[in-house]
Symmetry: C3
Subunit: 655 residues, 3 copies
């Protein structure tokens, strides 16, 4: 595991000294020490400085930067700069720029303008990575390699077309299998020759979901190959080097992070919530997802928050300011969930460029701000935690559940891609639904694991599978085994509907789980926005309903016309629930309370007040009070904004 020398935590930010004169760089090192910074990410987007002309490298400035960091006792997370080719690249390799669906070739002027499958881009990337590796692989400041930045660029060019065909051959074997998998008999799309297969470029009307889904998988693999190439270039020079890249979470990103997690030495994520009030729950979800990817990939649940914003959350185009105390509270909550630290974008706000208004630890006014004082206090706090050994990486027993709550939520980004590519009977926000179920458990005070399909399921008492539209045969079998072996499984509407090629499983929904759940869905009956109905249980349903029978399950709640809405079936030693409709927050909470009680899955804190977050750590329970109120938990006052260890509920915090 990568580590900053003498500092188990990565605390710091992206730093762009190339944007500043030497005097500011020197001042920055002083300020970093003042703030307790332990690590700085350098080199991201520095290609035009490192290689100002093709093949002509200039490392002089980076030498000084790394030496300065080392002298200051600060570790360097050294990035390869390949996320943004310099302007000369556009002129030298017009074929290697990204091409949109409609054929428009993009040019430099922003970032990420490259085709990942263009030989010229790959060669140039390897070149600069190799030059960096040979110069700095053994530099004492370097504690971690950060390849590229936020992989996720789409392209539809001829290089991609050719590579896509190769990828499809490997995946499907022959054209007959491809035609079968993609259902090309619909709309006369049957391929007679590999040469006819193209990326899903601009076309007349709706596209084929299987085509889109495979293209996104292909892009993920293309980007992964580009990453691995750089990683291997670095490791060829320094086999002991720790190498990773930062995952950017977002529905538009063609990266299967669960799959990638096996190829990095440390799972690292960036996280930018979409609403200020929702930030604590969104952060918890992202952290739990990162921990889940890490665990499933054999990294023991450790991960790193590589980027988040110091001072703001962008909500509907408006930067909402984090209120006092939130900086540390969010950072500590991430760390409590397994992050090896808290890194920010960015250290010092740039004067110009597209992100000049992105907040920074040292914002334009300079260090004399509330924000910098809070950052400094957080640095002190982290150093103190280090001294006490709190939060030190737990020694995770191989295969053990990652937290004591024994509750998990299933999350599969590829399933979200399938939903996005299909033309469903109503708009469906996959990640929103998953986050909703996670948030409901989080509010109840459960520690929750967010697990990818490859995760071990055995240790969980309760597993929620929301809207798992695409479910492979293997996954379906594993879910059945989970129940048979005593698990309590909650499956929601729109789960188990299509196979890995986005083909509907026929015979009654949910095809992959019908027998396990003991239900048979005849019709989807989505509701319009704003529409709702009340079940006979008093629960409010919205967004989605279904017409089903429950030939082999008990009915827990019914629609107004008496048809089953929520069902329960015992199977082996466990129980499988089916929730055929969207539920409002109250109904979700009620259902989970009953399910968890039956499963013996207790929250970390009983009757946790709204807005207080509980996280289980190896050293004990941490509480995060996101409200402006004092709450009494276990007989102890939890102050507004407090983030502290409560070794056992009721005992005063030792922190």
């Amino acid at each position: 595991m990568a580590a900053v020398p003498n500092h188990p935590y990565f605390y710091g930010a992206d730093w762009n000294p190339e944007q500043w004169p030497e005097s500011v760089r020197a001042a920055d090192l002083d300020l970093m020490r003042q703030a307790g910074v332990t690590a700085a990410t350098v080199g991201v987007f520095s290609w035009s400085r490192l290689e100002p002309a093709p093949g002509a490298y200039d490392f002089s400035w980076l030498d000084r930067v790394l030496d300065g960091l080392h002298a200051a006792g600060i570790g360097a997370v050294l990035a390869t700069p390949t996320a943004s080719p310099p302007p000369w690249f556009t002129l030298a390799h017009p074929d290697a720029l990204a091409q949109r669906r409609d054929g428009v070739r993009l040019v430099h002027g922003s970032r990420d303008t490259y085709c990942v499958n263009a030989p010229a881009y790959r060669a140039a990337s390897r070149g600069v990575a190799a030059a960096l590796a040979s110069r700095y692989a053994h530099h004492p400041a370097v504690v971690l390699w950060h390849v590229h930045n936020e992989y996720g660029t789409w392209c539809f060019c001829d290089h991609c077309a050719a590579a896509f065909r190769g990828w499809l051959r490997a995946r499907h074997g022959d054209l007959a299998a491809l035609n079968e998998a993609w259902c090309t008999d619909f709309w006369s799309q049957r391929y007679g020759d590999w040469a006819q297969v193209l990326p899903p470029r601009a076309t007349q009307y709706l596209t084929n979901p299987a085509h889109e889904l495979d293209y996104r998988r292909f892009l993920s693999d293309s980007l992964l190959a580009a990453y691995a190439e750089q990683r291997d270039v670095i490791k060829a020079v320094a086999p002991e080097a720790q190498v990773t890249t930062n995952f950017v979470l977002g529905g538009w990103v063609p990266v299967d992070h669960a799959r990638w997690s096996g190829q990095v030495d440390m799972v690292a994520i960036d996280h930018y919530p979409s609403s200020l009030d929702g930030a604590p729950a969104q952060s918890a979800f992202a952290a739990d997802a990162a921990r889940g990817w890490s665990a499933a990939a054999g990294h023991g649940g450790e991960w790193l928050l590589m980027e988040h914003a110091p001072a703001h959350v962008t909500e509907n185009g408006v930067q909402r300011r984090k209120p006092p105390g939130m900086l540390a509270r969010i950072a500590l909550a991430h760390i409590a969930r397994g992050s090896r630290g808290a890194m920010y974008f960015q250290w010092r706000a740039g004067r110009g460029g597209a992100e000049q208004w992105h907040s920074a630890l040292v914002d334009h006014p300079g260090p004399g701000t509330r924000l910098f004082r809070e950052a400094t206090a957080l640095g002190t706090r982290l150093a103190d935690l280090e001294r006490k050994g709190t939060f030190l990486t737990p020694s995770v027993e191989e295969g053990a559940p990652l937290n004591p709550s024994q509750v998990a939520v299933w999350f599969d980004e590829v399933c979200g891609w399938a939903i996005g590519a299909s033309h469903l009977p109503a708009p469906v926000d996959y990640q929103g639904i998953v986050e909703g179920w996670h948030r409901a458990l989080w509010r109840r005070g459960h520690a929750v694991d967010v697990v990818p399909p490859a995760a071990r399921l055995g240790g969980y008492r309760v597993l929620v599978v929301p809207a798992a539209y695409l479910l492979t045969d293997t996954s379906a079998r594993r879910l059945a085994e989970y129940v048979r072996d005593g698990g309590h499984l909650v499956v929601t509407y729109l789960s188990g509907i299509v196979d890995e090629h986005a083909r509907v499983r026929t015979g009654g929904h949910p095809g992959a789980l019908r027998d396990l759940l003991g239900v048979r869905v005849e019709e989807f009956d989505p509701l319009s926005a704003g529409e709702s109905l009340v079940l006979d249980s008093g629960d409010v349903a919205a967004a989605w309903t279904e017409h089903l029978t429950a030939p082999d399950a008990a009915v827990l709640a019914a629609y107004p016309d008496g048809r089953p809405a929520v069902t329960r079936r015992e199977h082996g030693a466990g129980v499988a629930y089916y929730v055929s409709c969207g539920l409002d927050d109250a109904a979700t909470a009620r259902l989970l309370a009953a399910v968890c009680a039956a499963a013996g899955a207790e929250p970390l804190v009983p009757d946790l007040p709204e807005g207080v977050e509980a996280v289980a750590t190896p050293q004990g329970l941490w509480l995060f009070n996101h409200t402006d109120l004092v709450h009494v938990i276990g007989g102890r006052d939890v102050a507004p904004g407090e983030a502290a260890l409560a070794a056992s509920p009721g005992a005063p915090s030792p922190d």
Copy 2:
């Protein structure tokens, strides 16, 4: 007239056996017989199966399909597959793909990616149509030929540019006439050479309405020529073949269906309403329009509902499910209005492809569903009606009005194109306005004819002409004759404004009808969304008002400032009303009540309850109760959801 042997009704759906193994195909034939299906549309979008490589045909599977249908006693509506060229076409003929306004060339990956004016596309289409015709023209299963599917693809390529110039030469004669018709002196658009005339491609700012309008007419004629070419290929082999194509109704479609109706052997439409609650009225409008096109083209008012959705109506992106009973009620209402049957898209829901979630008679769960039971019941019902002779095609006397209500609404899709291409003082939804007037009459229990400009008008007591912005001299003269000869004409705002080239008729609006109506409009004064005002009659006006004088008409209602709003003028034996503003539903109903009473046009049922639909058929009056309530009509209870014949109002239904 095409007919299924022994089955006056076409009852069935699009069927895509090429998507399924032989076992499913066999089961489908059994299920079709079980459901009472009489006809299946096959071959739509099957090009890549029928001609897997250029010129290499494979009919083996279709042989089996047609033989199977014949053996099952089911008629085949045999489609040519030209709506969706196979992937090989893209590679072989890159010049024959559709090009967007901005020059982007589309590729396969969806459907309808072709340029209708590309020689290669036309040759390939003729080729596959000829091969189909020579093989199947005399196949006993084939009862109707369905050329292509839903014509309506736009293209702006160089092939189209050349063809457009030829079309314009034929239409306008010389360039001077074109310049005059298009008013090219505005914004320096005067053409000095035919070569300068292009499709309305991406340009800097607003486009010329006349240019847009003629381009849409040209596309309609181009598509019609492509249709006729295939029709003639088929008829060359089998002169007795019945050939048609299915009209897709939608504001974006560059097809003048009234004009096309003369070129098909049976008017056939697809219909997809846009709201569940509005579906009965929208279906009635579409059916009445199809009947109107058929009658005006000499087909006696018969037509065929070629596609509609079995189980859902897509409303704002959400598939709303049709409630129990609606399947049959909508189908029977179409048939009562002259459809030769009720065909669905689709028989069996596909596992993959862009429309895998389009509902089907045999949906993914299989036949054991409410939906399939309803479909089977409808098949039984139709067979029963056939036995009783109900709904058998009336022998329409040449030139007689098509229904006894003697009320009609004017509908001209080209007028809608002119409105869409012009930059009017406010947004105007032409078809929405026409449907509003139709719906008001429908609610009152009138049977209504929807008539294109070429229709005979003589038989109607009341004719409503809503927003007939573009009105030719001929149409204006015919409307005047209609009134002179005793008709009662209701003209609304924005009628008679421009000539066939979308040029404003000067001297006071409505230029083409000013004298007939006895009014002179000085100014249009559209209202903002949500704005309304109350006329001195108490009626509520919205959307549009005008400033007019009524030098030769009586004022029936006035604006708050006393100026005329609704007027009436006697002319010859008839009366001409002018409605210068938008009216709400209540005001529209009041006005129509007065006009119809004065004209002696009685509804089929007096005081028809809201939500009950009355249709006159040769066998008597049918009632459709679209509500959940029992209504008493003519002393008889009409049950919720009922669709039944009431031979005479008050008598119990014999059905």
Copy 3:
């Protein structure tokens, strides 16, 4: 100064006789005389008539038009037609058409389809301008030359790329300076060779604000060079010719009108308000801005309203009709603010073309309309004013303030560009904010100067600087001198933030004005839409707040948490206020009342009723009653809709 012979006022419209037969042209001249028209703009968009084929000119029709105008005693504003190249231009010079960011080359079919930097376009423009000049420079009808029309076309083609590089070399000197100015170290955008610099074409993600800003400046200069070239061609033939072009106000226009004002003989603007109720205030703002540009450029504050709409205001896509009386009231208000007349688009509504529904003095119904009667009455009124000498151009003393109110608002279109190009913490509508402060002063009855950065500031008692995000060092120095010398300065949030290259000024906002205001802003804290808070003064803040300290200023109002919101600092003989938040109308009015009272800046009329506008003219005070009510001002009744001179408040109007 240009003048119509014997008619100090330009009263008339754009006239397109080329769209009409001779008989209509003759009737038009009669109607113009009847309406009191003194000038007509001809030749705009007439290129395809004047040069029907390359190099082949046809002036015969224009000869007759100009002779006819002269014979009718009407002056001609003669346009060069270069805003819309004819169709032949597209075919002859495909490289000279406008290209979008995404590379799509636009074609004719609308207007303004040209690349201003294409040599072929410039040559063709010079050619037709020279031909017009040599033929008509001494024609007695011609009173003013109108080059082109509404300059403002964007292009991103290779001609522009080459010209942009040249412009950048001139502006920045060398590439190192460019890299420094544009902060190209962000996202690896550092240029190593001039050839790498491109227009801001379609790229992957957010663009560089400095790049965008310089490109817009470059386009403004490119268009200005094209204008100047034509102007010089005309003046080469007729050095005494008066030459101008009409400025189109709109956030999307790449023209820096303040800079252009020095290159025209008369500042001329078009004005199209965006709401009917807002039209009086919007018109006042536009007029005051035009006067400000004129004064700062040495034209003494005179200007000309070259286009406005006779009968309508387009609001959210709906043409709202001007109520009776508004035509004259708006025209006279413009004239009272220094316009040399009131010109309309358009004289006679065309039958076809994209703007066939744009209102006209002679609308489609012909001259027998309320509108034409109002136009005729306005003509009579203007002739009467001429006779009385009212409104004759004041002899503006060099350097004197332009109006007695001594109140001004700072307005810099380049600042708006910088705001639009930057990715600010929240959406900011620069012109909306400026207009809001202008409107608040206008409602209070102040005459207001709208001043560009180059304006003299010395004469104003109060100067409001709203959202001056981009502020040069020079401007900052001048504002400080203004205060030092006794001025009262009101600076709002988001002022003085970036330098001329859109680089943030560090050390605490507002960097350029921090010392002058005595405040230091640490954080921007924009509010969400609909959010507001109440200051301790009772004032309501919305849209934007900040976290600041006031080390050297008094706090006039504070945020709920006690931090400063509005501050005041004395400096030299003056006072500098800082308003760190958005204020609602009431709060803005209260603040301005206090500031103006302290500064001794009195409104023209005390307690001016809402909806009444007061304008100071050399002949006295004019009042415009935009309401339906009688208001008593100075003891005198002001009738609804009245627009009249009140020589001194309280005295009856002599007009």
